[in-house]
Amino acid sequence: MFYPLNEPWEPGVPLGEHLRRRGVSRRDFLAFCGELGAMLGLSSMLTPRIARALEQMKRPSVVWLSLQECTGCTESVLRSSHPTIGDLVLDLISLDYQENLQAAAGSAAEAALHKAMEDHKGEYLLVVTGSVPLAEDGIYTMIGGRTAREVLEEGAAGAAAVLAVGACAHFGSVQAAAPNPTRAVGVDQIVKDRPVVNIAGCPPIADTITATIVHFLTFGRLPDVDYDKRPLFAYGARIHDQCSRRANFDAGQFVRSFDDEAARKAWCLYEVGCKGPATFSPCPIFQWNGETSWPIGAGHPCLGCTERMFWDTMTPFYRRMPKVSGFGIESTADTIGAALAVGATAGVAAHAAVTGVKRLRERSEGPSQPGGQVPSAGGRKSQEEDGHGQD
């Protein structure tokens, strides 16, 4: 297999030439490109185009800003399998600012940031992890003595495109859950004049992040996205439709309690709260950590973490999704999925506090289900049917 890590190339030398010099066969290189293409959901017809783009490429500048967050998304990138973090940092990109990994600190780090932004103005890719707290004029996250908002706005101004990586950059994640004490918002609430892609998930699968970067490098543009700016190559399929336990759902074979006989047969987790029917995510397809497993595969229900405001719309996590008659009929699950997806979409527009009130009201009203409180028509279902999911 082709591993670019082994020999970073010299300035001015195209990748193709570099590879020939170090004895990488054309066949291995194309296999690598094919693997990337498969990750991006592209036809193998496009493999030569990926190869051509990579061969002509010099390492583009990537600036990575860490705002209000837990660093889980950076940790996730460290787990990337293809390309590996070593490939990425040493050979595919020039990671000119990344606080968790970079050698320099303080003013030397800031100098590196500003040099990258100046030298590559209008060209660098901006990766953002973390949300932006707006309360109290932004003093809840300060970096180098400046607010997260100021740091983000400065970084976005010269960026070619912005990757909002993880649930925090997507919509604020856990700190934006009701009552959102610091008024945390996602990147696309601040950056309006640059293309923003949301790599959803808490955290996203490592390879989803790296594949989006590779897509940008290869095709010179961001991948096509759904209504919530999530790349279709990763978020275009619903977990429920790709789940290895779907046959059990269709057959009415459910885990009723963790570690019961059904759990020991790896049956469907719908009854113990799985949010797979309402969640668009590549988990069952890409899987996690070198295709080792994934949440449902390891016996735990999906939390729905790729969906906006999931901390409020998908909780309680262990509560079964809307109860309807006729379990085991495929269309039933689709209906449930559509209803919940609309609920999640509605949450986007709602102020977090409103969501919180709704959540509390639901609780006080007892076991009523979130899906029952939102319109059941339109929304995600129709997007699925027209096959695009574009907003």
């Binding site: 190339w9 970079q102 050698a103 003093i139 009701a178 004490p181």
Partner: protein, 574 residues
Amino acid sequence: MARTKVVVDPITRIEGHLRIEVQAENGMIADAWASSTQFRGIEIIMNGRDPRDAWAFTQRICGVCTVVHAIASCRAVEDALDIAVPPNATIIRNLVHGMQTVQDHVIHFYHLHALDWVDVVSALSADPDEAGRIARSLSPWPNNSGTYFQSVQDKLKKFVSSGQLGIFTNGYWGHPAYRLPPEVNLIAVAHYLEALDWQRDVIRLHTIFGGKNPHPNFLVGGMASAINLDDTGTINAERLSDIKALIDKARVFVEQVYWPDLLAIAGFYKDWAAIGGGVPNYLAVGEFPAAGSSFRDVEDLYFPRGIILDNNLEEVVPYDEARVREQITHSWYEYEGAGEDGLHPYEGQTVPNYTGPQPPWTYLQDHDRYTWMKAPRYDGKPMEVGPLARMLVAYGAGHEGVREVVGEALGKLNVGPAALFSTLGRTAARGAETVLLARKLGDWYGDLVGRIKNGDLTTFNDEKWDPSSWPATARGYGYLDAARGALGHWVEIKNGEISRYQCVVPSTWNCSPRDKAGQRGPYEQSLVDNHPLVDPERPIEILRTIHSFDPCMACGVHVLDASGELVTSVRVQG
């Protein structure tokens, strides 16, 4: 000579956002201030939620030590609801938390800390054959040939000559504080790259039991990964073999790469065994309950609970949570109706009161209040928590394994136990702990397999899963000694919902500011303990000591309500 004010912000190669300010004089640090500059308010978000969901919310406090808050949360809820966790689940949690700590410590050493000691550029002038000879004298690791180090050096040469230095841009290369021979620098660079691949692989243990990493899944009452040797979708012989291989891989790398590297590099920096000690008090809540016991069973913990005072290793003082107070004299908080005296956490408040300058900041040291961290004190004393605290408490308590591994380090470096109270001691203690845990993983694995062999497949206790089985009110707590130190979660449950939730985190102890008596917190005190700063423009010495604590700032969460003005919850410190 006048003092020079120095600001290092951002402190990089840590988790989260930390600002250090110092005053330097004649090449030494005369005073220091540590400021936590991020605030998220997760505890208040817990109110009104299902307690069985709490692990997932609090897990997101930190994505680096990605399992510790989740397990502490499960323990707290289980404690409140009186749920006994099946022995298999306790073992699985130990495996998950143990592997977390091992992987986390190795990443810390190579990817967060090493560049403070290793000059990447110097490695370019190394003799690869000599590097191979040195490496072979240290360990039997297979990649110790001159040819291998030549290939790494070639790679590095091309990278540096590309002019695109990426994450190595503006490093303090060539600083006189770097003292390793080029060959040792080259060995360390090679292992920096190898550790990147290693960490990605060994953490798959989390994926097998928890479905993903970071942020694997947990379950109040046990673990969700069912065991059935005769199914394709459960923990079966294939999965167990994978786990065994990952544990072996973790241990071999720790024993043959990390630990020898650490000791070899430490040998060139022995003066740092007399620098950066700071606060002489250490607190460990202990960790890794035996199967069939809980964190409350102090006698059954693998690493013991206790306190070392005034650097006295002769006596381990029992921990008494009644002696903890949190002070806010120098924090952006106020206490309503309680003046500025420290409050016991059971009566604690968190009323944010930002009095700092309008951004952008210049110097916070000119202001009385300068951080979002409170100042927890034990008997009025600041305490250090973390691997050094755990190793000192265990050493003082006569823990056999700790005495052996720590003793090996002291012997190889030819220093006495007093050398542990230092920047170097902190880094060495982390390594010693990793060696012990990497070996312990194999024991736990053996326990798990033995129980399965005897027919015990149980991973979950369902007796109290249904909220109708819960009392109207309940409260409990969970301790866990995390990679970065003592952690506690407290939960109060009313009518099936969380009515109060509090977390006490390692960074609050270590990054605490001054207290009302003017005593500095552990970060601050370590920076004024015989601490050099040769060139304020290139503050590599500050990074060495601060990184030796392995800061994890996102854990420094505090409570405030939606308007940001009023306190609705209490932080408990224990």
